[in-house]
């Protein structure tokens, strides 16, 4: 029982740590990532993640509205990101 709780706690700490590191890291270390992958752009990466997750969910749950929202948000994310950083 004790071991199980320790395993769960360690697992959650690692997961939260990875999420907290990776999500800002994708934005903060954009230049460093571009050294290895010259075509990389953070906003495009996020748009692609939204596109894949939304399409997969729309197919699994057979929901056309989710698919349409996914496509619209995939198109909108780079433009919103540009607009946001331009006016910031």
């Amino acid at each position: 029982m004790h071991n199980e709780i320790i395993k769960i706690v360690i697992g959650r700490v690692i997961t939260v740590g990875l999420v907290l590191f990776i999500v800002p890291g994708i934005y903060l270390f954009e230049n460093e990532i571009q050294l290895y992958f010259p075509e990389y752009e953070s906003k495009m990466f996020f748009a692609a993640v939204i596109c894949f997750a939304g399409t997969a969910y729309a197919v699994i749950s057979r929901n056309l509205i989710v698919l349409v929202i996914t496509i619209v948000s995939t198109i909108a994310v780079p433009f919103i990101s540009d607009w946001f950083f331009y006016y910031l």
Binding site: E39, M44, A47, A48, C51, F52, T55, A56, V59, I60, S61, R62, T74, I75, P78
Partner: protein, 251 residues
Amino acid sequence: MSSVQSGDLSPEELKFGQNSGKGSSNLLSGNLIDAISQIQQLAVMELSRREIPEHFFTMRARLNFFSIGFGNGMIEGTLFAVLTALILPINANRELMEMIAEYFPLVRYKVFLLSLNLIPLFIAITLCSLVGKFRNKRLTTLAIDFLLIGRCFCLVIEGIIVFGVMVMLHKYLMTTENIQRMAMFFAARSDVAAETAYRIISDIRPKIIPAAYQTLYIFIAATLVPFFSVWLISSVRKAAIRKSELFWEQE
């Protein structure tokens, strides 16, 4: 303690369609998430009670799981065919790609287009990782097998159809005469449109056969993933349990 924890589930709580009384199963009805939820319920019930007769999982319930898998495979296959039809011209012609990239900047990335084509495979992997761990008792095994067989069955049929359609398209429809005829149709509107249409279709033509083979490979992979992940892992696990039982019997 809830009825789920105690294992005393009433037929109303196990809604996997076996007592629906509808009399027929629609191929496109039902949802994969519902099916997975029902498999989870079934797994909980089987863990709580020691022995449940196999015929508790009726013919109607088996057919319902099969039809959910089949319907899901059909939707995935159709989406894949539509995506292939959209991606092929974008990959073939740089001019068209730049035109679309003004509104949808992600199409500039080849990796994105390839990954979009691989979506059926990603869904198969996600599905197998979701249901794989429940395939250890008799009824859950039956439910998962019927779901995956329905899906595989549909993907095989649809893969062959898409491959056939693409080969036919290359051989009979997209001949040089037909491309010229199509360009003439556009020429009635403007010369530039006719020239662009001719160039785009001419660029697509040589890439159809490689794309048809790629489609076939992706469908084969999407069909084989359940065999190699869920069924193979489950049989290896069962063999290990049997081996350990034999070892203790010898002792």
